[in-house]
Symmetry: C2
Subunit: 146 residues, 2 copies
DNA sequence: TTATCTGCAAACATTTTGCAGCGAG
DNA sequence: CTCGCTGCAAAATGTTTGCAGATAA
């Protein structure tokens, strides 16, 4: 376990308050605005630390940024992330896991690992958004929109 | 359509020869080694061009690099990528697509899009690899290995 | 001919690292 | 008191861009 410093606590509090996916830079800015004296590197270090301890989830937005959020569900799961506001639902489906393993095995692959994230517009943002607008959290990689 | 320059042709040929996921930098190096005079920026530009025309698949390795491969299957599909050698199988499962839509809808999300890639060791690399070694293409995000 | 493409290097954005000093335990 | 943590700024990565000159059509 790492030391509980003022900065680490601030990062945790911020994550706790937000409960949506945020980039390290965003967290950093938020903390600064809130009057906290923290360095960007420290935010990165703490976020990573928390992530490797399994306290926060990390996911990579399509533009390459890493996004962090407090973990609510300790097990393996995926996310349904709103690309507008960053809000996310944790979703876990054993069907997927099983299917992944199966397919991989069929192809002779071992040590299989998968990543899967769903991006969309949450109910709130859907209502507020007419049609074309994407930003903040995730933009399409594979144009599915099915 | 873009102009078919010597460089663009070289990139295409390289992709054709490799038929595995490669980073722009790798393609660049390969071309240079093969005696081609190309600039890194040009490789990036061509790879992107080809990608946006749907001629190549792009996927993001876990370390953040973008990997490219000639597209064989024009429709929506996912990949089972060997993290050792970059070899990949294209896999498409409508079950997943349907499930994704369904779950998203249940949560009130619209304009849903998903990304999913499977990383593992292909049969060949599995045989050649004892246990712990990961590099080149993908490293785990979510430790599943189930 | 001429609009597009290329090569180079400089610019970018995000993340990491080196190091002297601070501070939790 | 000690060793880990912090802040800063500099370095590293992977990718993009500006621009003068080359070149496909």
């Amino acid at each position: 376990m790492q030391r509980m410093t003022r900065q680490r606590q601030a990062v945790l509090d911020e994550l706790r308050r937000i409960d949506d996916f945020r980039s390290a830079q965003q967290v950093f800015e938020d903390l600064r605005e809130d009057g906290h004296r923290v360095g960007l590197a420290t935010v990165y270090r703490n976020l990573q630390g928390l992530a490797s301890e399994g306290d926060v989830d990390v996911l990579r937005a399509v533009d390459g940024e890493n996004l962090y959020r407090l973990c609510t569900n300790r097990g393996h799961h995926h996310h349904l992330v709103c690309r507008q506001c960053g809000h996310a639902e944790e979703i876990a489906l054993s069907e997927i896991e099983a299917w992944v393993t199966e397919v991989a095995r069929q192809h002779g692959y071992t040590q299989v690992d998968h990543s899967m994230e769903l991006f969309g517009l949450c109910a709130t943002c859907s209502a507020a958004t007419p049609a074309g607008s994407s930003d903040q959290v995730g933009t399409s990689t594979s144009p599915t929109t099915d």
